[in-house]
């Protein structure tokens, strides 16, 4: 059995300098090719958890490992590079640089990740393939991102997360800006492509109804303890 794509153990983190907010995660792991839904209300520490996983903040204690790599062993610039190479991120909305074309936006992570760039033989071709696989109209690559509908923007964000086949996709409520009808279509397409890329998915949401799409559903309160002291 290979090491899990993501594993957290004994992690403690407190935001520096501000109203005391700390999070503790005893154990959380995502296996290769596994899709996990992390359910939690807003304020349950989801954002902090995602920041820890992506290495933009560093745990005070414990180990956050992505693809077997302990992030605390890396310098901050190496963590940035590591994130670019191995993690695809999808936000709730506003995923794209509005002034760039769709192709610019999709190719953006490759600029910071040489190894990932080498895995893509033909960037324009791969971007076009992902777009059409995600049900985006042909010729969208040269459009300015600002001209796209929210639904289109979210699909482009999926294409950007998937290009170069990173091992872990992290998604933060990617469907919350979509209406119920397009949510289903979006998730179907996203899951198809994530499976095709053999990537793992960790998605956070407050909506338990999404659970049916995932291999596993984890409740935030079961894995993490959040402490908030008013000062």
């Amino acid at each position: 059995m290979t090491a899990p794509v993501l594993s957290l153990s004994g992690v403690r983190y407190a935001w520096p300098g501000r109203t005391a907010f700390s999070i503790e995660v005893e154990a959380l792991s995502v296996a290769h090719g596994e899709t996990v839904l992390l359910l939690g209300e807003s304020g349950s520490g989801k954002s902090t958890l995602l920041s820890l996983i992506c290495g933009t903040v560093l745990a005070d204690q414990g180990v956050v490992a992505v693809d077997g790599q302990d992030l605390s062993q890396l310098s901050s610039s190496a963590r940035d590079r590591f994130r670019a190479e191995w993690i695809g991120v999808i936000f709730q909305q506003f995923n794209l640089l509005p002034f760039g074309t769709v192709q610019d936006n999709i190719a953006l992570p490759l600029r910071f990740a040489p190894t990932r760039r080498d895995r893509v033989l033909d960037v324009a071709g791969e971007a076009a393939r992902l777009c059409s696989a995600l049900g985006l109209p042909g010729g969208i690559l040269t459009e300015k991102a600002a001209r796209l509908s929210v639904g289109q923007q979210q699909r482009v964000a999926v294409a950007r997360a998937l290009i170069g086949e990173p091992s872990l996709i992290v998604a933060d409520e990617p469907t919350s800006a979509l209406d119920a009808g397009s949510q289903t279509a979006f998730l179907d397409l996203m899951f198809q492509q994530i499976t095709a890329c053999r990537a793992s998915l960790l998605m956070v949401s407050h909506d338990p109804a999404l659970g049916q799409y995932f291999d596993r559903v984890v409740r935030m309160e079961d894995v993490a303890r959040v402490e908030r002291r008013m000062t």
Partner: protein, 416 residues
Amino acid sequence: MIARLAIASLFARALTVGMTILAIALSVALYLGVEKIRTGAKASFADTISGTDLIVGARSGSVQLLLYSVFRIGNATNNVTWESYQDIAARPEVEWIVPISLGDSHRQFRVMGTTPAFFEHYRYRRGQNLLVEDGALIADLFDAVIGADVAETLGYAVGDPIVVAHGIASFTEHDDLPFRVAGVLEKTGTPVDRTVIVSIEAIEAIHVDWRRGARIPGQSTPEAVLRDMDLTPQAITAALVGVQSPLQTFALQRAINEYREEPLLAILPGVALQELWGIVGIAETALVAISAMVVLTALIGMMATLFSSLNERRREMAILRAVGAGPGTILGLLVTEAMLMAASGAVLGMAIVYAVLGVARAQIDSAFGLWLPIDPPTLQELWVVLAVLGAGGIVSLLPAIRAYRMSVADGMMVRS
């Protein structure tokens, strides 16, 4: 691709970015324009007199002598007697000598008495001769030759009468003895354009009936009598001297300065000009400093724009962080943007200067007698552009560092 995104991002904020670039461009244009006018004015001043080795006048200051004899600014405190003039003229070093007699005026223009040799020896703009545009040089005692500005301002043509006033800005006129415009000179861009030139004898003639600056009551010598009189002047204001060989200039200067009969002063026009620059230098420096301040103000304006854009661009920075850009990349992006703006501003500013020069050069020349050459950018101007670029980069560091801090604190999550 980062540079391309920076440019795309600038285009997306075209209005604010355009305004910032325009402010920088105008400030750079102002700075370069001041520089152009400064060097142009210097060159123009230096071009006013050439070919004259020494200027001789009564002892005063060299700058003062230069100003009143060549630029018609200020007045002589004393005169040079005709005897002294002749003594100098008789020296072996002297190749030619032209007397100048100032002190009268016509309207706002100075009247200068001199000899025909003036038209032969006076040179401007690297050795150009005075040329008559219309009419002829002085032939009769009461002939006057006027400069181009005099003709244009007062609407005079050849044959018109001119009444010379005694002194400058005075209401007493030599109205009994009018002059006739014999010729109009071509435009030179020198004070000659604003001068009425008459013969030195004529200056003597109109003062025959005057003593100590006032008309002798009841005395009026008829013109016919004047024409028969000996009108050799008693004194002149100054003299322009050309020497046989440049090597003798200093010897002659010393000889004149040590002349025993009368305190005289001989100056080298170039040296006196340098002294003048020394005096004007303070104002010049102030002007340059002010326009440099304007450039700085524009750059600080850019800094303010960058600062205010940071908040609305938090999302953009979070996206870049999410795809793996380090905070350093974000700092670099802001500095790159600022330097692109500064560079566009500087280049646009330079273009504005050239455009204005191209359009307004003729008007500037005719209005101020200032001929500004259109040359390719000098090394100094390129340095200015580089300095603006560098200063733009430095100024942008503050907002860039703030962006760096924000992106470290925010990571990929934008907290508001």
